[in-house]
C-alpha cells in the first residue's frame, strides 16, 4: 500500500470537522466546565466548587443510587430474556417465525415519547388497563406512580420491553454465526440439547452477551426520557430520579452548567470503568 495522505484526508475532512466540533471538543470542554463556578457571570475557575458539592449532595447520591438500582436489576433480567428470545427464535422447530420476530423486534422502532405515553396510560391508577386486569382476576389495584418501588418497577418494565428485542437481534445474529456442525458433532456425542446450550452456545456467545450487557448498561445509565415522562420528572418525590434526569434538571432547569458537567463526567467515569470490565471479560486467553 502506498501512502496517500492528501486523498485520504479529503475523504475524512468533512466528517472529522463535525466530529471534532460536536464531539471531541465538547468532551474536553465539559471536563473544563466542571471545574468552573457557573452560577454567576462571568464564570470563574473554582476546582472544588462543583466536585465538592457533588460529593456532599444527597440529590446526587439519590440519583446515583436509583440509576445503579435500575442497572443491577433491569439489565440482567433483560439480557436473560433476550438470550431466551434469541435461542427460541433460532429453533428449527419454530413455526410462524416471522410473526414471533415481529412481536419481539417491533418495540425497537417505537420512540421513547410514544411508548412512555402508552406505559403511563397503561399503569394509570384508576383507569389503567393493568389495574383493570389485576382487578378482573381478583387482585387489588396498585398505585404505580405514588410509591417508589412500583414506580421503579414500571420504568424497568418499560425499558425492558423497549430494548429486549434489540438485544435479541444482536444475539440472534451471533447465534447464527455459530457453525451448525458443532451441534451435530455434540449430538453424535450424545450431549443433550440443554447441555449443548450451556456448554457450547453460551461460551461461544459470551463476547456478544458481554457486548450487549455493556451497551445496555451505558444506555440505561443515561436513562432520561422514561423517568422524565412516565414517572413525571422522576417522581414520586425524586424516587425515580436518575443521573440523566438530575443532569437535565441542573443543566437546563437551574442552568447550572458546571455542576451538570460534573454529573456528566461521573457518568463518563462509570462508562469507562464498564468498558474496561468488558475488555477484561472478553480478553483473549494467553
Amino acid at each position: 500500500m502506498r501512502y496517500q495522505n492528501a486523498t485520504a484526508y479529503r475523504f475524512l475532512a468533512p466528517y472529522l470537522l463535525i466530529f471534532s466540533i460536536f464531539w471531541l471538543w465538547p468532551i474536553i470542554d465539559s471536563f473544563l466546565i466542571s471545574f468552573q463556578a457557573t452560577r454567576t457571570v462571568p464564570w470563574r475557575f473554582a476546582p472544588g466548587f462543583n466536585w465538592g458539592r457533588l460529593i456532599g449532595d444527597p440529590a446526587f447520591f439519590n440519583a446515583l443510587k436509583n440509576t445503579l438500582l435500575i442497572l443491577v436489576i433491569q439489565v440482567p433480567v433483560m439480557i436473560t430474556l433476550a438470550i431466551v428470545m434469541a435461542v427460541l427464535l433460532n429453533s428449527p422447530l419454530l413455526k410462524a417465525r416471522g410473526l414471533f420476530r415481529f412481536a419481539f423486534f417491533a418495540p425497537v422502532v417505537v420512540g421513547e415519547v410514544a411508548y412512555s405515553a402508552v406505559f403511563r396510560l397503561m399503569f394509570n391508577l384508576d383507569y389503567g388497563i393493568i389495574n383493570k386486569l389485576l382487578n378482573s382476576v381478583g387482585l387489588p389495584s396498585i398505585d404505580w406512580f405514588s410509591n417508589v418501588t412500583p414506580a421503579m418497577a414500571v420504568i424497568m418494565i418499560a425499558v425492558t420491553w423497549r430494548w429486549a428485542g434489540y438485544n435479541a437481534i444482536i444475539l440472534l445474529a451471533g447465534l447464527q454465526s455459530i457453525p451448525q456442525d458443532v451441534y451435530e458433532a455434540a449430538t453424535l456425542d450424545r450431549v443433550s440439547k440443554v447441555k449443548q446450550f450451556f456448554y457450547i452456545t453460551l461460551p461461544l456467545l459470551k463476547p456478544i452477551i458481554v457486548f450487549c450487557a455493556v451497551l445496555s448498561i451505558i444506555g440505561t445509565m443515561q436513562l432520561f426520557t422514561e423517568p422524565f415522562l412516565i414517572t413525571e420528572r422522576g417522581g414520586p418525590g425524586g424516587g425515580t430520579e436518575t443521573l440523566g434526569l438530575l443532569l437535565y434538571r441542573q443543566g437546563f432547569r437551574s442552568l447550572n452548567f458546571g455542576y451538570a458537567s460534573a454529573i456528566a463526567y461521573t457518568m463518563a467515569g462509570l462508562a469507562i470503568a464498564i468498558s474496561l470490565v468488558q475488555l477484561w471479560l472478553t480478553r483473549e486467553p494467553k
Binding site: 500500500m1 496517500q4 466540533i21 460536536f22 465538547p26 422447530l93 412481536a103 417505537v110 443521573l243 443543566g251
Partner: protein, 283 residues
C-alpha cells in the same frame, strides 16, 4: 424396529415443538400488548379511555383524536419538521460517514492509527458528556437554537456509520479498487461508482438505523428547539404528556402517527433493519 424408533424420535420432536410454542406465544402476546393498546387508545374517546370497563378492541374515534391533537399543538407541522430533519440528517450522515469509513478502509495515511483510535476509544462515552457544551455552543455561541441546522448538524458526529462502513469497505476485495486505479479512475470516482454501489445493502441498513435514530431523537431536540413552531414531533407530543387538561386519545393518536410509519418500514425492510442493528456487534 427402525420405524418405531423413528416414530419415537418424531414424537419427542413434536413434544418439544409444542412446549416451545406454549412458552413463546404468551410471551409474544405480552410483547405486542403495549403496541396493541396504543392503537386501541388512539381510537377511543377520552371518556372511553377513562372508564372502568376493559376495552381491547378498536373504536372509531381516531380522526377525532387527531383533530384534538392538532388543536392542542401543531402536530402535523411538527411531523413535517421531523420528516425533513430525519431525511436530511440521514443523507448527510450516510455520506460523511461512508466517506470517512472509505478513507480508513482503503488508504494508508499519516495519523490513521490515531484517528481510528480516537473514534473507537470515545464511542462508548455517554452522550450526556457532550450535552452541556454542545448546547452552549449551538445556542449561545452560534445562536442557532430553534433552527433546522441545530437539529441536523450536531448529531452528525455519530461515528457508528464510520465503523460500519469501514467494515463494509474493507470486506470488499481490494483488487477491485486496484483494478480501477490501474485503469486511471480517480479515487472519488472509484468511491462513487465502484465502492458505493457495491455497498448498497450496507448503506440501506445504515440509512434505516440513522433515520430511526433521528426520527425518535428526543433529548437534543427537546433542549435546542423548544419553541412551538420549531419542535419535532416527539418533542411536541412530549409537551402534552405532562399537562393535566389534555386529550389522551389525542396523545395516543400522535404516538400511533409516530410509530406506524416506522413499523411499516420495519416490516418491509426487516432484513436491512436487522443487519443494521446486528452489525453494531461487529468490531
Amino acid at each position: 424396529m427402525s420405524s418405531r424408533s423413528s416414530s419415537s424420535r418424531s414424537s419427542a420432536r413434536l413434544g418439544r415443538s409444542i412446549a416451545l410454542h406454549l412458552f413463546l406465544t404468551p410471551l409474544a402476546l405480552i410483547w405486542l400488548f403495549p403496541l396493541w393498546m396504543m392503537v386501541i387508545f388512539s381510537t377511543m374517546p377520552d371518556r372511553g379511555i377513562f372508564s372502568p370497563s376493559i376495552e381491547l378492541l378498536p373504536h372509531g374515534n381516531f380522526l377525532d383524536n387527531v383533530t384534538n391533537l392538532q388543536r392542542g399543538t401543531n402536530f402535523i407541522g411538527a411531523i413535517g419538521i421531523s420528516v425533513s430533519v430525519a431525511v436530511t440528517y440521514t443523507f448527510l450522515s450516510v455520506l460523511l460517514t461512508s466517506m470517512a469509513g472509505w478513507a480508513l478502509a482503503r488508504y494508508q495515511f499519516f495519523g490513521k492509527g490515531i484517528v481510528a483510535a480516537i473514534i473507537l476509544g470515545t464511542i462508548t462515552l455517554p452522550y450526556a458528556v457532550v450535552l452541556i457544551p454542545q448546547f452552549i455552543m449551538v445556542a449561545r455561541d452560534f445562536k442557532l437554537a430553534n433552527t433546522w441546522v441545530a437539529l441536523i448538524v450536531p448529531p452528525l458526529f455519530n461515528s457508528l456509520g464510520v465503523l460500519f462502513m469501514r467494515q463494509a469497505f474493507s470486506m470488499m476485495p481490494h483488487e477491485l479498487f486496484d483494478a480501477a486505479r490501474v485503469e486511471g479512475v480517480k479515487e472519488w470516482r472509484i468511491f462513487l461508482f465502484v465502492a458505493l454501489p457495491l455497498a448498497r445493502p450496507m448503506l440501506a441498513a445504515l440509512a434505516i438505523i440513522l433515520f430511526l435514530a433521528s426520527w425518535n431523537n428526543y433529548l437534543w431536540p427537546l433542549l435546542i428547539n423548544s419553541k412551538p413552531g420549531a419542535m419535532t414531533a416527539p418533542v411536541a407530543l412530549g409537551t402534552l404528556i405532562g399537562l393535566t387538561k389534555v386529550s389522551w386519545g389525542g396523545i395516543m393518536a400522535g404516538a400511533v402517527l409516530l410509530t406506524a410509519p416506522m413499523l411499516v418500514v420495519f416490516v418491509l425492510l426487516q432484513r436491512h433493519f436487522i443487519a443494521g442493528i446486528a452489525a453494531g456487534a461487529i468490531k
